[in-house]
């Protein structure tokens, strides 16, 4: 059974589609890169998968996963960095699935939090307020929280944006570790080199799907060119979409 199944999904805002008629499925344990130009609907697609955005049309099936089985790392997290919370407590919120509203954080859980912080290379940062971290350190903190969420489906939106090489390498190792553990990982990415070298499967998105399959076959100059040509602007006077399969309209 697929981890994520798209059935003619259209996602968007205010009736305008940002992802148009997407069909297909992500196998359990797959490591999928979602690429495409800015405005191609990558973030929108990921928001649809984690359930923050309801599809305008069609449906997304998550093969029996409920929302707690999904870990989502948004692109520009709406995190209030001025809030007085320590790295330790912040990472600890990743245990929500186990603790919920009232569950205590016992000795084992405390160890887990410390291990998660250590595995993203932030030993010694436990008591620092999150407001004092650099961008890269904050991204490591977010990865530590995803780690603790212990989710079967991990959705990462541009996780390596504005992050230096060292941090990217460390965090990418973590992503591959998750893949090794059999978790399904979807990541919106920009760096073609990284996609080519580390991601086995790629979805090229330009509002509609341009190509989807093994990275080596999909990541061709032709496909990328098609994706680049996508028109970004919404047409305010667009009529209701009649075609059931109108990929060409998106381009």
């Amino acid at each position: 059974m697929a981890a994520v199944h798209f059935h003619n999904v259209t996602l968007g805002y205010d009736r305008h589609p940002a992802v148009h008629h997407l069909n297909g499925e992500v196998a359990p344990g797959a490591l999928v890169a979602v690429i495409g130009p800015n405005g191609a609907g990558k973030s929108t697609l990921l928001r649809g998968i984690v359930g923050i955005l309801r599809p305008l049309d069609g449906s997304i099936h998550l093969g029996g996963l409920d929302s707690r089985d999904i870990a989502y790392l948004p692109q520009s997290a709406e995190i209030d960095r001025t809030f007085p919370i320590s790295v330790y407590d912040f990472v600890g919120t990743g245990l929500w699935r186990g603790t919920g509203l009232f569950g205590g954080i016992g000795k084992a859980a405390r160890e887990k939090i410390l291990r998660a912080i250590a595995s993203v290379g932030l030993n010694g940062f436990e008591n620092r307020p999150i407001g004092t971290l650099s961008g890269g350190q904050m991204q490591r903190v977010l990865f530590a929280r995803v780690l603790l969420q212990d989710a079967r489906l991990i959705v990462l939106d541009e996780p390596f944006n504005a992050i230096d090489t060292k941090t990217t390498t460390d965090l990418l190792a973590l992503v591959k570790h998750w893949h090794g553990e059999g978790r399904t990982v979807l990541a919106a990415l920009h760096d073609m080199e990284m996609v080519r070298n580390h991601f086995s499967e790629t979805l090229v998105l330009a509002r509609g799907p341009v190509a989807w399959g093994p990275t080596a076959e999909v990541l061709t100059p032709e496909n990328l060119l098609v994706a680049m040509r996508m028109c970004e602007a919404f047409d305010d006077s667009a009529t209701a979409c009649a075609a059931d399969n109108a990929r060409s309209r998106a381009a």
Partner: protein, 289 residues
């Protein structure tokens, strides 16, 4: 001498003891709420809510005179109605919470004033506006203590989602549905504490014993728990000192309490350990690492 000034009033007069008990109850419940209001950038929301409560309390006052329960019930109904309507509208549309709240509290205020003017009674609105903590009877004190207890219990229940929602609302939305209810419960607590405060300080100053201590705490700690403790202590100290000042100088008690808190606030702004002005001007030599 010092005893006469600082402790004497409370051993001698029962109304001072009641007032002190009330102000401590208000501090215990109101200050933590104030800290969250401040951290969630809702300080002025508290103020707007105070205005929203006024008409409800005034209507209660009109219907049954200076009856505490009628005024409290009226205030609670008006406050809840405005808070929940504003919260629901903000969450179900794209409108920001402050904008929808402004709409509803203005409507509530206008409605209240209209009702009062139709009734045409020359009521003592001063009491509602500025309160009188020195006129607490046993019944009032019990209500205040009860509300404070409820506040602390509910706050304990919603503490975790409230904190997570304040830091990273999107994360909470992806793992749980507790965010919305926690937020509404928090707004309800704000209303309860404003109503609680207006017995003592009046509608206009009620929010002061919530927000000012929070502002003070913010200059002394970067840790949420410590911040809440400092806020509670600051509120209680302001309350006590305000009562003493009021007793000795005949300044009305509500304003005296808030003015003492203001003095503490100014001291904190100047000398606070976290971001205080003096600290920023003379930070000391930079560190090794």
């Amino acid at each position: 001498m010092l005893y006469d000034a600082l402790i004497g009033p409370f051993t001698e007069f029962e109304f001072m003891r009641r007032a002190l008990a009330a102000v401590i109850a208000l501090s215990l419940a109101g200050a933590p709420i104030g800290v969250f209001l401040m951290l969630r950038r809702m300080s002025l929301v508290g103020d707007a809510m105070a205005h929203a409560i006024l008409p409800g309390a005034a209507v209660g006052f009109l219907l049954s005179g200076l009856n505490l329960f009628a005024m409290t019930a009226g205030g609670l109904i008006a406050g809840f109605a405005v808070a929940i309507l504003a919260g629901v509208v903000a969450r179900s549309t794209g409108l920001k919470e402050d904008a929808s709240l402004a709409t509803f509290y203005l409507a509530s205020l206008a409605l209240g004033v209209t009702i009062v003017s139709i009734k045409g009674t020359n009521i003592d609105l001063l009491h509602v506006l500025f309160g009188n903590i020195l006129a607490m009877d046993d019944q009032t004190l019990l209500v205040v203590a009860f509300n404070a207890t409820v506040t602390l219990l509910v706050l304990a229940v919603i503490y975790r989602p409230l904190v997570i929602e304040s830091v990273d609302p999107l994360f909470l939305r992806t793992v749980s549905r507790a965010g919305g209810p926690a937020h509404l419960a928090f707004l309800a607590l704000v209303v309860i504490n404003l109503v609680n405060g207006f017995q003592a300080l009046g509608t206009l100053l009620a929010v002061g014993l919530m927000i000012l201590p929070a502002g003070i705490a913010r200059f002394w700690s970067r840790d949420l728990t410590v911040m809440i403790c400092i806020a509670v202590v600051a509120a209680a100290v302001s309350g006590y000192a305000g009562l003493v000042v009021s007793f000795q100088t005949r300044v009305p008690s509500g304003p005296a309490i808030i003015l003492v808190a203001t003095v503490l606030y100014i001291v904190s702004v100047l000398f606070g350990r976290v971001g205080g002005i003096v600290r920023q001007l003379f930070p000391g030599r930079h560190l090794e690492a």
